[in-house]
Every structure is written in structure tokens, then in C-alpha cells.
């Protein structure tokens, strides 16, 4: 086992990995930018080293500084978390060169799977279903032929893209030439690689992904699927396991495909194979995420596996210790990504100082966060500030618990998307499991209503506050971001309605 492990990341995922280290008895090392000196991940770690100024390019993406910190600390392993350098093959290679174990797949596997065209080729060879499409398109005429054959609409995708970036939808022949040219230029400027390919555009599909983990000794285990269809602009917001649309038979096929694909790619450590699932139960390979995912806890809650502990163990050369037959999914788990943004103002990122925080707890609730009173939510980093994960014996209970926990969650100082999550979990379509990747954008509208009984309570509260100020000079914090009194608000009788099985009365911490 490792003598010391450095986490090349920040925020909740760093604490997640440091917790695993502590449970394994491995000293944990944090790195931090100048903006993060007081951050929780720095305080949680046994050791901490500054790796540069606030901008990520100069710190959390700064490979030499991170390797240097690891060497100074005497760390023999680096966990990259997600984001930042986690899918950067050059970083994995730099670790190897420095004699440090990178907790993740080999640089070769990362490179192979990072190229979408190569990845499609490998998966096709491993008999993993892929969407109809092409290899690299060199000649525009080739694209025209392919599109005609596949049928419009089609996608033009950057070979080096990923996570929804570098994708254009083409609806007809007329749009094709222009789209192809633009896509190539964009791909070149964004990824340094002009390679593009054409793929069938699948509509009203679900995003379903399979978590897998592989050790050095030939064991590959698929840990069931997650459903991440609730997205806005390719940004996942809610993930759950199992998928409401996946039958045991589809699950078996998905898991087998993922395991075959991982073997074919020579994959070691944890990874995720993403698929699109259509209404007929057909699924198509999308891409492999060669790292730990944000949403890994939902898999942990239904399988009982500790993915981060297992990542570290297999990176150290230990055998996984369990096989596909040992994997049982029990109950249902759902994750809500809590993001610092203003749901009522076009989901604009919200920055500021957290002046108060109370996180949910109790039965079935797991929180992953690095929140504390006094924390700065800055422009420099991702705006996800916490993950709320709920487990229930069935999907309904998981949703009820998540909803209950959301009502307990209090964050002051920045706006959050908690109101969005509450309404989503109350939505009948979501509660039926009837969503697809465009559901949020096409079918869901955030309400701007205020509960009537809350209106009178707010009036009473304001009257008392006004009287206290006039009498005794009560002091309060100034409003965040100079929020304008929301003109669009209207009162609505949401009280005592029961919608989607969740009663509004009893919203508590009201």
C-alpha cells in the first residue's frame, strides 16, 4: 500500500479522497491555490502545499508544481479527483515519469479512449453497440453520403471532444457544409485537433452510464448503471441508480458491454462507460470517462462498494477482491448537485461569501461538500458546492428523502439551485421516471411562485424586524448581489397541495 497520497484537486472530491486515505491509514496530502489557503480540503489533509495563484491554469492545472509538491511531501501516489487534470494523459505520464503512481488508468488507455473515433473503433471491435456513424471525415462529400445513409438529423462531433463539448446538430443537407467547416475550426481551436466525425442524432433518449472497475489481475467488474438524463446544456444535475428505464435484462447487457469494452481498451482502475438508451431498450456507446465521476456516490449507495478505496487498492496492485457475481444492487439512490447559481435569473453563477450553512442529515442522507461558514465561492472554480445523495429502499423513498433533505439545506451568501431541485423532485414526470436528456430544456419550467401561508409569515417577520430596527437598531447582513426585488414573483396557493405524492405542507425549516 502507498506510504502517502496526494490529491491533485480541491473542494468536496478532495475531502472524499482524503477520507478514504484516513480510513486506509494512508497520510493524505492536499495542494492549494492562493485563493484556497483556508479551504476545508487544506485543513483536512495531513500535509498541504501551495501550488500557485488562484487561476486554475497556474495551480490546479500546473503539472510541474503538483509533481514538485508530491516529491517534497514524499507522496508515492496521486489521485486526480475529477475535472482539472483527471483525464489528462500527459499528467498521468508525468506521474509515471516521476515514479509516482497515478490513481487511474494508464496514459495509453486515456489517450486511446480520449479520441472519440478511436474509442468507437475499439468498442465496435469489442461488440459494444455504437450509434451509426463514421470514422474521421476527410472529405465533405463523405459526410454528405454518411448523413444521407444515417438519415437527418445527424451530429458532427469533434474527435477530441467530450462531456458534451464539440458537438453540432445538423438537421438537413442545407446545413451540412457550413456546420462541418465550423465544427472543424472550433475543434481545432478548442482541442487542438480538427478531426470530426458524423454520428446519428438520437432524440428523446436517456443518458445511462455503467460504472466499472478493473484490477491488474484481469478482474473487471461492472457496478450497474446510473441514469443521468436530467441535464441542462449537457451539465448533469441529478443522477440516480438504478435507472428507472433499465430492466434486469438491459442491465445485464449494459454491464457485459461495459466490461468487454474495458477489457478491449486494456483498462485498469475505475471508469465509466456512457451510453444513450432509446425507448426500445437499445443502447449506443457514447464515450468512456477515464476517471472517478462526480456522481459515483449513487453507485456506492446501492452496491455498498467504496469506489475510492477500491481505486487506491487496485492502483497499489491489490486484487479487487470481488467479482461480477458478488455485485448486488440494493434499493435506490439519487444525487442532487447543489450549484451556486441563481435559478430565477437564468442560472447565472452566484459568487460571494457563505455567511451561514446548515447541511441536511438523518436517515438515508449522505452529504459530500467542502462548505463552511466564511467560505468564498469564487469565479475561479466550478460552481458546484455540494452533493446531496439520498438512499431509499425504493425510488419513491429515495426521492422523498432527498426532497426532505433539500428542505433542510440552508446556504446564505450565494444563491443556489435548491429551489430547482425541490420542484424537480415534485414533478410528476420525473417521479414517473419519464425524462430524457432534453427534458429540462424542452419540458420543464421553474415556477416563480411563493407559498401563500409563507407570505403572511414573511409579512409578520418583516413587521417585527422593522419594529426591532426602529426600537433597538437591529443589524442584518446586506442583501447578496444587490438582488432586485423579483418582479416576476407571484403568490400561489402551493400550501397543502399534494403533487407527485409530495405534500407541500411540511416543507419545514420553513
Amino acid at each position: 500500500m502507498f506510504k502517502k497520497l496526494l490529491v491533485a484537486n480541491r473542494g468536496e472530491i478532495t475531502i472524499r479522497v482524503l477520507r478514504a486515505c484516513r480510513e486506509l491509514g494512508i497520510p493524505g496530502v492536499a495542494v492549494y491555490s492562493e485563493a484556497d489557503r483556508g479551504a476545508l480540503h487544506v485543513r483536512y489533509a495531513d500535509e498541504a502545499y501551495c501550488i500557485g495563484p488562484a487561476p486554475a491554469l497556474e495551480s490546479y492545472l500546473n503539472i510541474p508544481r503538483i509533481i514538485e509538491a508530491a516529491q517534497r511531501a514524499g507522496a508515492d501516489a496521486i489521485h486526480p479527483g475529477y475535472g482539472f487534470l483527471s483525464e489528462n494523459a500527459a499528467f498521468a505520464a508525468a506521474c509515471r515519469e516521476a515514479g509516482i503512481t497515478f490513481v487511474g488508468p494508464s496514459p495509453e488507455a486515456m489517450r486511446l479512449l480520449g479520441d472519440k473515433v478511436e474509442a468507437r473503433r475499439v468498442m465496435r471491435g469489442a461488440d459494444v453497440p455504437i450509434a451509426p456513424g463514421t470514422d474521421f471525415i476527410e472529405d465533405p462529400a463523405e459526410a454528405v453520403r454518411a448523413a444521407e445513409e444515417i438519415g437527418y438529423p445527424v451530429l458532427i462531433k469533434a474527435a477530441a471532444g467530450g462531456g458534451g463539448r464539440g458537438i453540432r446538430v445538423v438537421n438537413s443537407r442545407q446545413e451540412l457544409d457550413q456546420a462541418l467547416e465550423t465544427a472543424r475550426q472550433e475543434a481545432l481551436s478548442a482541442f487542438g485537433n480538427a478531426g470530426v466525425f458524423v454520428e446519428k442524432y438520437l432524440d428523446r433518449v436517456r443518458h445511462v452510464e455503467v460504472q466499472f472497475i478493473a484490477d491488474r489481475h484481469g478482474t473487471v467488474v461492472a457496478l450497474g448503471e446510473r441514469d443521468c438524463s436530467v441535464q441542462r446544456r449537457h451539465q448533469k444535475l441529478v443522477e440516480e441508480a438504478p435507472s428507472p428505464a433499465v430492466t434486469p435484462e438491459i442491465r445485464r447487457r449494459l454491464c457485459e458491454a461495459a466490461a468487454r469494452g474495458a477489457r478491449a481498451a486494456g483498462y485498469e482502475n475505475a471508469g465509466t462507460m456512457e451510453f444513450l438508451l432509446d425507448r426500445d431498450g437499445n443502447f449506443y456507446f457514447l464515450e468512456v470517462n477515464t476517471r472517478l465521476q462526480v456522481e459515483h456516490p449513487v453507485t456506492e449507495l446501492v452496491t455498498g462498494v467504496d469506489l475510492v478505496v477500491d481505486q487506491i487498492r487496485v492502483a497499489a496492485g491489490e486484487p479487487l477482491g470481488y467479482t461480477q457475481d458478488d455485485v448486488k444492487m440494493v434499493g435506490h439512490a439519487i444525487e442532487c448537485r447543489i450549484v451556486a447559481e441563481d435559478p430565477y435569473n437564468n442560472f447565472l453563477p452566484s459568487v460571494g461569501t457563505i455567511t451561514f450553512v446548515r447541511e441536511p442529515a438523518g436517515p438515508g442522507i449522505r452529504m459530500e461538500s467542502a462548505l463552511f461558514q466564511g467560505m468564498e465561492v469564487s469565479v475561479y472554480y466550478d460552481s458546484m458546492i455540494a452533493k446531496l445523495i439520498a438512499w431509499g429502499a425504493d425510488r419513491d423513498q429515495a426521492i422523498r428523502r432527498a426532497h426532505r433533505a433539500l428542505t433542510e439545506f440552508k446556504v446564505l451568501g450565494v444563491h443556489t439551485n435548491i429551489p430547482f431541485h425541490l420542484q424537480l423532485l415534485e414533478d410528476e414526470r420525473f417521479r414517473r421516471g419519464d425524462v430524457h436528456t432534453k427534458f429540462l430544456e424542452q419540458e420543464f419550467r421553474l415556477e416563480r411562485t411563493l407559498p401563500t401561508d409563507g407570505i403572511d409569515a414573511a409579512f409578520i417577520a418583516a413587521a417585527v424586524l422593522a419594529a426591532e430596527r426602529d426600537r433597538r437598531g437591529l443589524q442584518l447582513q446586506a442583501g447578496t448581489n444587490g438582488t432586485a426585488p423579483a418582479a416576476g414573483w407571484r403568490a400561489a396557493g402551493r400550501v397543502a397541495q399534494v403533487r407527485g405524492g409530495i405534500q407541500y405542507r411540511g416543507m419545514g425549516w420553513r
Binding site: P349, L450, A457, A458, I460, A461, A463, R469, W489
Partner: protein, 169 residues
């Protein structure tokens, strides 16, 4: 001793009277109805506990120009308060005294695109420009219908949080 305020949330209006007797009991009248009220500030901090005739509410509050935002659970109630002797001065970058409205940068970032020019008519809710920050393109909307009076920035400019971007008259 009693004090009276004019309160407003959106379209809803109330006249409120607050009475406190010697032993600290508080009664609040909203229009014609009196409520027995108990308020406790928790630990001198951000959180208040309010019990109105048995109903238990927890709220936090912040100052706004001309009143308070009362935050109950996930809901923010913007309450305009008339009649307060010690109200925070109205004003600020957002709403000018002259009826203009200025879009200010909600965060530091780079102007990716500006969709309007001086003299354009805009509707409330229209996207005026795109600001890149936190690795995302953020569309900034008009909170007022009117005519674009000034465009303070150009495409590609780096702006700090709070910087004026576009003024609508």
C-alpha cells in the same frame, strides 16, 4: 407602544401594526387580523425562529433598499417596508432614481458577446449579452423593458464584478 408599517410582496399589500407589552409579548396586526407572535433570534446570528399562534417558521433576513428579504426555506420573500424610520437608503447600481436600470456584472468575467446597441428597444427577459465566467457562458437578461441608453462595454472586455454593462431607460 405600537408602530405601523406598509408592507408589500409582489402584488400583495398589508398594513402591519406591531405591539409589544411590558412582559415582552408581541402582537402583530396584518390589516384587520391580530396574531400572537413569538420571535427569537438564534445565538445572535443569521437565523430567527418565529412562532405565530402555534405555526413554527424559521427564517433568515437580509437588508435590501427599502425593506428586507425574508428567506423561508427555499423561498425568498422580498418585502418592501414603508414607514420604517431607519430604512437603508434606496439606490445602488441596479435601479437608478431616474427610472433607468443598469445591468451590472454579477461576477468578474469576459464579455463574449453583446447583442444590443444604443437605441435598441428591449423587452424584459431579453438576453442583452453573454459574459464568460466560471468556465461558462452566462446570458444576461434585461430586468426592465425600454430603450438601451448606454452600452458600457465591448466584446472581449474583462469586467469586474459590479461593473456597469448596459443601461436601459
Amino acid at each position: 407602544m405600537a408602530v405601523t408599517y406598509q408592507l408589500q410582496i409582489g402584488e400583495e399589500k398589508r398594513t402591519a401594526e406591531v405591539q409589544q407589552d411590558e412582559d415582552g409579548r408581541v402582537r402583530v396586526r396584518l390589516d384587520n387580523r391580530w396574531y400572537d407572535v413569538e420571535v427569537q433570534r438564534i445565538n445572535g446570528g443569521e437565523v430567527f425562529s418565529l412562532i405565530v399562534e402555534g405555526e413554527s417558521w424559521e427564517f433568515t433576513a437580509v437588508d435590501t433598499p427599502g425593506g428586507f428579504e425574508v428567506i423561508i426555506g427555499p423561498h425568498v420573500y422580498p418585502v418592501a417596508v414603508g414607514g420604517m424610520k431607519t430604512a437603508r437608503k434606496a439606490g445602488g447600481a441596479a435601479a437608478g432614481a431616474d427610472g433607468t436600470w443598469t445591468l451590472t456584472a454579477p461576477m468578474s468575467g469576459v464579455v463574449v458577446d453583446v447583442y444590443v446597441s444604443q437605441g435598441d428597444q428591449v423587452e424584459q427577459g431579453a438576453v442583452l449579452m453573454v459574459l464568460e465566467a466560471m468556465k461558462m457562458n452566462n446570458e444576461l437578461q434585461a430586468q426592465k423593458s425600454g430603450t438601451v441608453q448606454t452600452v458600457h462595454v465591448t466584446k472581449g472586455a474583462r469586467v469586474d464584478r459590479g461593473a456597469p454593462l448596459i443601461t436601459v431607460a
